[in-house]
């Protein structure tokens, strides 16, 4: 128990972290104490990992993501969060959140999933890719001993959500795939407590773990970072094909799915790529899958590139709409009309958004208030 500390405030369980912040719900977070005031443990978890096999020649092979890291004694996989200890593979981040926040669901972004609600968002250290534009590289590219962690077992996450009336938990910021066991157990517990779970992921996960995870999730947002394999190889440090396959798997499962494509100037911003992307979405997922284009800002290892010009985002929007995609959005352009949801049939505004705020919601029981067309999603 010495590794644990539970922050108690006014009889409720709370938590905080070095990254705890919210300018959106200060009234909720106002009562929380920063964990920086506490002496944070550097100890890591030692929960046995799932989906690995012991190799006959010694070592283990991880089966959580397509990297299939082969890891010998005392070494770690690529994500830095799984360690072989005497041929038993361990997750080092179970119950160790390094970043927490209360976010509007629109920030994920999920636009067709209970608009205007909030999500308790959490992450651990680590990631199974290394995007050169990562906005959260300080946690995603860190090993868990390099981040300030809060000991937060699944039941404490649920207690926070219940006490604060937070309807949804979002696994986000870094890559939830690498904290699969932790995410799964929270989501499963959440399900029996009527608390929803959404995964904000790069989609770089193996088929089987995803298959077993989807029943405890309510929605998934996948960052489809490009429609080209070489971009995945050179800029992301992963592979495109498994991501496309997992996106199709999620869609087929019936779990709510939205996609985000971050447009990085000069790297994945040509009209041909937008056309390929739109064609792939239309063919494989249908025209009713929301697709968000997001504006790049110089970060991490791509500080030499400018922010995405608005015109490029609008070109992408135009191409996708012309291809027949019905719910295309532009992100990181606060106030742009393409932040809002329109009825594909009558063109009326259904959900008006500015930034992460909702100004009107005219969807009534999954239907357009005007023409009664069915609007996909969970409202």
């Amino acid at each position: 128990m010495e590794r644990r500390f539970f922050l108690r405030c006014l009889g409720c369980s709370f938590l905080a972290s070095a990254m705890l912040q919210s300018d959106f719900f200060p009234e909720i977070l106002g009562g929380l104490k920063s964990a920086e005031a506490y002496s944070l443990t550097k100890n890591l978890s030692s929960v046995e990992a799932r989906y690995y096999k012991k190799l006959p020649e010694g070592g283990v092979e991880c089966g959580i993501c397509p990297r299939h890291c082969r890891v010998t004694d005392l070494e770690r996989g690529y994500c830095g969060t799984r360690e072989n200890r005497a041929n038993v593979y361990h997750t080092l981040v179970y119950g160790l959140a390094c970043s927490m926040n209360i976010d509007p669901i629109e920030k994920k972004p999920l636009f067709h999933f209970y608009p205007g609600t909030t999500a308790f968002s959490l992450a651990t250290a680590g990631c199974n890719v290394n995007c050169k534009f990562c906005q959260n590289w300080d946690i995603s590219q860190s090993r868990p001993e390099q981040t300030d962690n809060v000991d937060l077992p699944p039941k404490e996450v649920i207690a926070i959500c219940r006490n604060q009336n937070l309807p949804t938990i979002a696994y986000t910021y870094s890559e939830p795939t690498i904290f699969y066991e932790y995410m799964y157990d929270i989501a499963e517990l959440g399900r029996s407590n009527s608390i929803r779970s959404v995964m904000i992921s790069n989609g770089y996960m193996e088929t089987e773990p995803l298959k077993n995870l989807l029943p405890v999730l309510n929605a998934v947002k996948v960052d489809l970072k490009s429609i080209r394999e070489d971009y995945y190889k050179n800029i992301v440090g992963g592979e495109l094909k498994p991501v496309l396959d997992r996106i199709i798997q999620i869609k087929k499962s019936g779990t709510w799915l939205e996609l985000v494509y971050l447009i990085v100037p000069t790297l994945n911003d040509t009209p041909e790529e937008f056309r390929e992307l739109a064609g792939w979405v239309k063919t494989n997922l249908g025209t009713d899958t929301p697709l968000h284009f997001s504006r790049f800002y110089p970060q991490y290892l791509l500080k030499n590139l400018p922010p995405t010009p608005q015109k490029t985002l609008e070109t992408a929007y135009q191409i996708c709409r012309e291809t027949g995609l019905e719910y295309v959005y532009l992100g990181n352009l606060p106030g742009h009309p393409a932040e809002s949801t329109y009825c594909p049939q009558c063109g009326k505004i259904l959900i008006e958004r500015k930034g992460y705020r909702i100004y009107q919601n005219n969807i009534k029981g999954n239907r357009c208030y005007n023409c009664q067309r069915n609007i996909p999603g969970l409202f």
Binding site: E75, Y78, R143
Partner: protein
């Protein structure tokens, strides 16, 4: 150069005094001087000296404490203030698990991990080829000259774990650099600006060599070589280490690292980016054998 101790059984580490003898002979032979003080200062001209040990395998197969102690003693003897010596590794936990006593106070030699409060990693990234990493502030901000002080052992992916591979412990994200036999990553990690600028010497413990099953400890694969490799050329030091490792494998009827699917490809890469010499025929290798009585004589590698 290689400084070897004669005799010795196959199980134990050398004592501090035995290491001290090897270090003195090694420094003098490497410098080509008779005086130990001048020999040391030829490579370490003052300032704060770091000793980057390797403690991943805990007390079983990490840089032996008696070796680090002997080196500290030798440095002090040659005029370096004890307060200006830092034994360091990635984490305090690793150091302690290998038997090191932590010391973060101002008095005496320091012994600390990068995770010690006030240290951590550099704010900015350093880059070389595909490597982009933050570097331990112990190296970037505290140490003027660094001695790379690893143990020689087999590595399940890189083939060879020796000097350059030990530098994975100086960066924040070593887990990102294990694909394709750690090549070209090992070379480019050593080519990061602070590492290249401050690494003055490699002193590789090849007393007890784990020639298979590394980098964790596996008692089935231990051989006695009884030597230290010393060089100011990090690639040459590793190339000689590789020769010893391959020799041990051959003696024990194991296939070469190449045949085992883990060739130490990074050596050639390191040479190609100008870090040193990977061609054994171009390395001027001296071998000195130190007798139990203190005398020394020229010897053979095997």
């Amino acid at each position: 150069m290689i400084a070897k101790a004669s005799g010795g059984d196959s199980g134990r580490h050398l004592s501090k005094d035995e290491y001290r003898g090897l270090l003195e002979s090694g420094f003098k032979a490497l410098a080509g001087l008779n005086d130990i003080k001048s020999s040391v200062s030829k490579f370490l001209p003052g300032g704060t000296i770091g000793l980057k040990v390797s403690c991943l395998a805990r007390k079983f197969n990490s840089t032996p404490v008696p070796l680090a102690d002997a080196l500290v003693e030798l440095l002090i003897q040659t005029g370096i203030s004890e307060n200006k010596i830092i034994i360091w590794e990635r984490t305090n936990q690793e150091l302690e698990s290998a038997g090191y006593a932590l010391n973060t106070s101002a008095a005496g030699r320091k012994c600390l991990g990068t995770d010690t409060d006030g240290y951590g990693y550099s704010r900015d990234f350093y880059s070389s080829g595909p490597v982009n990493s933050l570097v331990s502030r112990i190296l970037t901000e505290t140490v003027d000259h660094n001695i790379n002080l690893p143990v020689l052992k087999d590595h399940s992916i890189a083939g060879l774990s020796s000097g350059m591979k030990n530098m994975y412990g100086a960066i924040n994200n070593p887990n990102k650099y294990h694909d394709t036999n750690c090549d070209p990553f090992v070379a480019h990690v050593s080519n990061l600006e602070p590492l290249k600028a401050k690494n003055r010497l490699s002193i590789i413990d090849a007393v007890r060599v784990q020639y298979n099953g590394g980098p964790g400890f596996d008692s089935r694969y231990l051989a006695r070589y009884n030597g230290l490799i010393l060089s100011d050329n990090p690639v040459a030091a590793d190339r000689v280490a590789l020769e010893i490792l391959e020799h041990c494998r051959q003696q024990n009827a194991l296939p070469s690292l190449e045949k085992a699917g883990r060739p130490a490809k990074f050596l050639k890469t390191a040479e190609s980016i100008g870090l040193g010499t990977a061609d054994l025929s171009k390395i001027d290798l001296k071998v000195i054998v130190k007798d139990a009585g203190g005398g020394e004589r020229p010897g053979e590698m095997f």
